[in-house]
C-alpha cells in the first residue's frame, strides 16, 4: 500500500513538472497575444483592440533584415572599408600590440619585484636609521644590507621604468580617470620619490663618509620619510590594477 502511494506521489510530481511550464506560459500570456501582431512595432506588448473593430494599419518595417544577433557591434572592419594600406596598418597595429603586451608583461614582473625590494629596503633602512640616529648601538650593522638593497631597488626601478617607456602605443587612448591613470600618477610620484631618495641617500652617505656631522640626522630623517612615501606610491601603483 505504501509502495502504491509512493508511486502515485512520484507520478503526480512528474506530471506536475511536465505540465507546470505550460501553465506558467499560459498564465504569462494575455489574450491579446493570441491576436495577430505586427513585427518590429514598439507597441506589440500593448493589448490590441477587440477584433470586432477595424484592424490597425501595420507600421512599416525598420529594416528588411529580420532582427537577430548577426550584427557588427563596432561597425565594418577597417581592413574591409578601404584598400591594402589599411590592412597593413591593422597588421602593424597588431604587431605593436603584441610587442606592447610582451614589454608590459616584463614591466609588471619587474614592478612587483621592485615593490618587494623597496619594502625590504624601507624595513632595513628603518633599522639602519634607528641604529645610527635613534639611540641604537651605532655600529652600522645594517649599513651594508641597506646599501645592497637600495642599489638593487634603484636598478630594478630603472629597468621597470625603461620597459614601460619603451612599450609602443599602437592606439591613441583618450585621457580619462581609470586604473591606468591612477597607476600613472602613482608611478610618477614613485619616480619623484625614488629620484629624491637617491639624491638624499647619496648626499647623506657622502656627508657621513667625509666625517661631517652637520645636519646629517635631519637629512637621514627626510630620507627615511621619503622612502616610506615612495613605497606607498609603489603600493598604490600596483594595487591600482586590482580595481
Amino acid at each position: 500500500m505504501a509502495q502504491i502511494s509512493q508511486r502515485l506521489l512520484l507520478a503526480t510530481i512528474f506530471v506536475a513538472v511536465l505540465v507546470a511550464p505550460g501553465v506558467t506560459r499560459a498564465q504569462a500570456s494575455s489574450p491579446a497575444d493570441t491576436a495577430p501582431q505586427t513585427v518590429g512595432t514598439p507597441t506589440s506588448s500593448v493589448p490590441l483592440p477587440p477584433p470586432s473593430g477595424p484592424l490597425p494599419i501595420p507600421a512599416p518595417a525598420l529594416s528588411d533584415k529580420p532582427a537577430g544577433l548577426d550584427f557588427e557591434f563596432f561597425g565594418p572592419d577597417d581592413a574591409s572599408r578601404s584598400g591594402p594600406d589599411s590592412a597593413a596598418k591593422v597588421a602593424n597595429a597588431s604587431e605593436l600590440s603584441q610587442k606592447r603586451r610582451h614589454r608590459l608583461g616584463i614591466h609588471q614582473f619587474l614592478g612587483l619585484t621592485t615593490w618587494a625590494f623597496m619594502g625590504a629596503s624601507c624595513i632595513v633602512g628603518q633599522l639602519n636609521y634607528n641604529d645610527l640616529y635613534g639611540g641604537g648601538s651605532g655600529r652600522g650593522n645594517y649599513q651594508l644590507p641597506h646599501r645592497l638593497l637600495v642599489y638593487s631597488t634603484a636598478g630594478l626601478f630603472t629597468a621597470t621604468g625603461i620597459y614601460s617607456l619603451l612599450a609602443p602605443q599602437p592606439y591613441k587612448k583618450p585621457l580619462k580617470f581609470d586604473s591606468g591613470l591612477v597607476h600613472r600618477i602613482a608611478a610618477i610620484g614613485a619616480t619623484a620619490g625614488m629620484v629624491a631618495e637617491v639624491v638624499l641617500g647619496f648626499i647623506t652617505a657622502r656627508t657621513a663618509d667625509s666625517g661631517n656631522s652637520s645636519g646629517i640626522k635631519q637629512m637621514a630623517t627626510i630620507h627615511d620619510a621619503v622612502g616610506w612615501t615612495t613605497f606607498g606610491f609603489m603600493t598604490a601603483a600596483g594595487t591600482a590594477w586590482l580595481f
Binding site: G138, N141, A208, G211, S214
Partner: protein, 125 residues
C-alpha cells in the same frame, strides 16, 4: 615617441646626477695654517670635523673600537696621541676619511697643520 625622446628620458637622470657626484659634502679646508698647532686648539677641531663621527667613543658606523680620536691620551681606549702615526698617515694618504677618494677629505692646509703638529712633537696644549 621618437627614439631621441626615449634616449633623452632614459639618460636624463644620469645627466642630472653628474653635477651631484662632483659636489663636495665635507667641511671646508682650514683658512690658514697655524705655525705651532696644539691638539686642543687646532687638531681636535679638525678631527671633529672629519673623523669623530665614527672614531669617537663608542666607535660608530663600523669603525674599529680599539681607539678614539676625540681625546688626546688613553682614557678607556687609546687616544689620538697613542694612534698619532697611524691616523696621520691615513689622512695624508687620503685613505681616511672614506670620502677623501672623492675629494671630501682633509684639505692641503689641514694636512700641513698635522705635519707641523708632528714636527713640534704632538703637543697637547
Amino acid at each position: 615617441m621618437s627614439k631621441m625622446d626615449t634616449a633623452f628620458r632614459v639618460f636624463l637622470p644620469v645627466i642630472l646626477a653628474w653635477p651631484l657626484a662632483t659636489c663636495s659634502f665635507g667641511k671646508p679646508d682650514l683658512a690658514t695654517v697655524p705655525a705651532h698647532p696644539t691638539f686642543e686648539a687646532d687638531v681636535r677641531p679638525l678631527l671633529e670635523d672629519h673623523c669623530v663621527l665614527c672614531h669617537g667613543y663608542p666607535a660608530k658606523r663600523g669603525a674599529p673600537t680599539s681607539f678614539r680620536l676625540d681625546v688626546y691620551a688613553a682614557d678607556v681606549v687609546p687616544g689620538a696621541y697613542d694612534e698619532r702615526a697611524r691616523f696621520i698617515r691615513s689622512i695624508q694618504s687620503d685613505k681616511m676619511p672614506p670620502s677623501a677618494a672623492w675629494g671630501d677629505g682633509v684639505g692641503p692646509n689641514g694636512k700641513t697643520m698635522l705635519q707641523n703638529w708632528a714636527t713640534d712633537g704632538y703637543p697637547e696644549q
